[in-house]
């Protein structure tokens, strides 16, 4: 179980992560949702021990153990897929997996079994021998993820794993993440795509400027922070939009005034929650 306990981290004057606390359970996909520069990657880097918190503690703990992520021993049980693709482009996909597997102490038939399993996981079995520089963006993303799990870690951290991929690859990645959850792993998933968080994450932490704005399941977040939905009504050539928490009542009111040709109700979603919590001002 990954625990963030009142963690802060600054770069000079900039407070990249500010008093962040959360816990990730086994068998859960935990979403870190935030705009650019919110501090998602900084939080991930502290979770894997690449950065040291200025304040607070990051722990990897359960009944049996309580470890600091900077402890090399602990790193066996975590796997990271960095935000920018981190692979050796000049060698094959299988060789990348083999190399990182060896670094994690795998050898012989155990190693080969894992390489085969991870190639299959990333749908790259046919191109395992091909050098990575010849891969498409989607293939590299999938391999970037597969390398993170070559040693079958307990905790998998995926930092924006779907950037720059087509809908097919994105869907494949979603399915793989669900597969990891079903296998009882803890998954930390950062993104600024709402629909990803909505589809995949059991719980979502919305962060902005390093601060935790809200943390709950998606339905609960919408319930609390979603606000009214939108009723879109068309009459002839004109279209109007009406905020409402009672779409049927509002529709009846509108129809009483004039005939409605067409209508659509847009319930509040995670994006509404996100914009409500983080505002509409541009970041970075």
């Amino acid at each position: 179980m990954l625990v963030f306990d009142h963690v802060s981290k600054s770069f000079g004057d900039l407070r990249a992560v500010d008093d962040l606390s959360f816990e990730v359970e086994a068998g859960e996909v935990f979403g870190l949702l935030g705009p650019n520069g919110a501090g998602k990657t900084t939080a991930i880097n502290m979770a894997v021990g690449l950065l040291e918190p200025d304040e607070g503690v990051v722990r990897f703990a359960d009944e049996a153990f309580d470890r600091d992520p900077r402890d090399a021993e602990n790193r066996r049980s975590l796997g990271l897929a960095p935000q920018s693709i981190a692979l050796y482009e000049q060698i094959g996909g299988a060789d990348n997996l083999r190399f990182f597997g060896r670094l994690h102490g795998l050898r012989g038939s155990d190693l080969e079994e894992r390489v085969v399993a991870c190639l299959d996981f990333a749908d790259l079995t046919d191109v395992g021998k091909k050098v990575v520089s010849k891969y498409s963006g989607g293939m590299k993303r999938r391999l970037n993820l597969a390398v993170a799990i070559i040693h079958d870690p307990e905790l998998v951290l995926l930092d924006e794993p779907t950037v720059g991929v087509d809908p097919q690859s994105r869907n494949a990645i979603f399915e793989r993440v669900e597969q990891l959850r079903d296998a009882g792993k803890q998954v930390v998933y950062t993104t600024h795509y709402m629909e990803e968080a909505q589809r995949l994450c059991d719980r979502v932490a919305i962060i902005d400027r390093g601060r935790l704005m809200a943390l709950d399941t998606v339905p609960a977040l919408i319930e609390v922070h979603g606000g009214p939905g939108n009723l879109v009504v068309r009459t002839g050539d004109s279209e109007s939009r009406h905020e409402t928490t009672d779409p049927l009542g509002t529709l009846a009111e509108l129809q009483a005034r004039q005939a409605v040709d067409h209508f659509q109700y847009l319930p509040p979603d995670l994006e509404t929650v996100f914009l409500n919590l983080t505002g509409r001002a541009l970041r970075d």
Partner: protein, 425 residues
């Protein structure tokens, strides 16, 4: 250890996959070796002044006169050196030919009727053309000596009376008497020829005698190794270039790991910084040892380079690689990005290599430059390589360059490793 080896193997794998890196570590040095080897081979056969070393063991007025005559001959640059240094000169390849005037040379020159003057010539067997030319100049000078002698009645008379005394001391016989009559007449030979107006036609009196000079030629290679061929020098330089190429490539590889994000992956893996450093060092050592050994193997098998000592060659290869892997680590600290690492790497390597004899052999440089070259690790590398390839160093002589190389390597590696940036951005 398994992890270190895995990381090192990956780096070497990547180096040889990278076409540009491969070019700089293998093909570029190889092309330099062939180019400079061919160029110097051509030069040394050319008609430019051929440097020859000369030892005068005779030290008579006659031998000095002969040396002066040689000095005036076109095409030779005669450097007279003390006997003890002669071997060293040839060994260091400063001269292709060594001429020795042995005791008795002057006496024979003044009186060539009994003993033909004789010189010893020690040559590099690969420089036959040069040796032939020097031979010609020596014969020409001896011929001119003889002509002078024959046209100088005083000197001729002195020689004759010396010879007459000698023959008179022998037991009487017909042959002895005829010889004495001949000696009696011979001082007048040239004046008789002149009287008949035949001086120019016969070219003096040379025709009466055999060759004016005996040249005893020994090949230098057996006891006194010189650069057996010009490829011996150029392959040593090529091996140096492969070290430079390898160290620059590896110093870039750390920056590349950082910029491509794989450094982050390595740091997240259950290994320590020490593992990482050891792996980089090992990979660099393995790759440079491999490429430099491959080059010299090619030199030996294809270009007939004949190392004087294989164990010392192995030692030189190892020490050179250690030095440049240390430099690699230091370079990777100075250059944070791959462009910076490459720029600084080549920017420093080129002038230091030129200074250290990596392009033009050191012995062709002026004295002060040779002294300044001591600051260049490239100089020491070449010294070690050449010491084992053709200078015929002893283990003792090899110790100096090897110690300097290992010291530079260890210091540079330690400094570099200490200051390496471990952040991933």
């Amino acid at each position: 250890m398994n992890k270190i080896v895995a990381m090192a193997a990956k780096d070497i794998h990547i180096l040889f996959r990278d076409k540009l890196g491969f070019f700089f570590t293998v093909f570029f040095p190889l092309m330099m070796a062939i180019f400079f080897g061919a160029m110097f081979a051509g030069l040394s056969r050319g008609p430019a002044n051929i440097p020859i070393a000369l030892v005068d063991q005779d030290r008579t007025a006659a031998s000095e006169r002969f040396i002066e005559r040689l000095g005036q001959a076109s095409g030779l640059a005669v450097e007279q050196i003390p006997g003890e240094e002669a071997l060293e000169q040839v060994r260091r390849g400063r001269t292709a030919v060594l001429v020795t005037l042995t005791p008795g040379f002057g006496a024979a020159l003044d009186n060539p009727f009994v003993t033909t003057p004789e010189v010893e010539m020690t040559v590099d067997p690969t420089q036959f053309a040069v040796a032939g030319m020097v031979r010609g100049v020596l014969l020409e000078a001896a011929g001119a000596e003889l002509q002078d002698l024959m046209s100088d009645p005083a000197r001729l008379g002195a020689a004759n009376s010396q010879n007459s005394l000698f023959f008179e001391s022998l037991p009487p016989s017909d042959a002895r008497d005829q010889m004495l009559t001949f000696l009696d007449l011979s001082p007048r030979v040239s004046s008789l020829i002149d009287e008949m107006g035949l001086g120019a036609a016969t070219g003096g009196n040379q025709g009466f005698f055999g060759p004016p000079l005996e040249i005893e030629q020994t090949e230098v290679q057996a006891e006194r190794p010189g650069p057996t061929n010009s490829y011996a020098t150029s392959f040593a330089q090529a091996m140096l270039w492969t070290l430079i190429g390898g160290s620059v490539s590896f110093s870039m590889s750390i920056a590349i790991e950082r910029s491509r994000g794989t450094l982050m992956r390595l740091l997240v893996a259950p290994i320590t910084a020490r593992h990482l450093l050891a792996a980089k060092g090992l990979a660099c050592l393995g790759a440079t040892l491999f490429t430099s050994s491959a080059l010299i193997t090619l030199g030996i098998t294809v270009f007939d380079v004949r190392p004087t000592s294989y164990p010392l060659l192995a030692l030189a290869l190892l020490c050179g690689s250690i030095c440049f892997c240390g430099i690699m680590m230091a370079l990777s600290v100075i250059g944070g990005t791959e462009q910076a690492a490459a720029g600084i790497g080549w920017g420093l390597s080129l002038p230091l290599s030129m200074l250290g004899g990596g392009m033009v052999p050191l012995f062709l440089m002026p004295e002060w430059m040779q002294r300044l070259a001591n600051i260049s690790p490239m100089k020491w590398t070449l010294m070690a390589y050449e010491g084992a390839i053709w200078r015929g160093f002893t283990l003792n002589e090899m110790l100096l360059p090897c110690t300097v190389l290992v010291a530079i390597g260890v210091v540079a590696f330690t400094l570099g490793a200490r200051r390496l940036r471990w952040d991933t951005g």
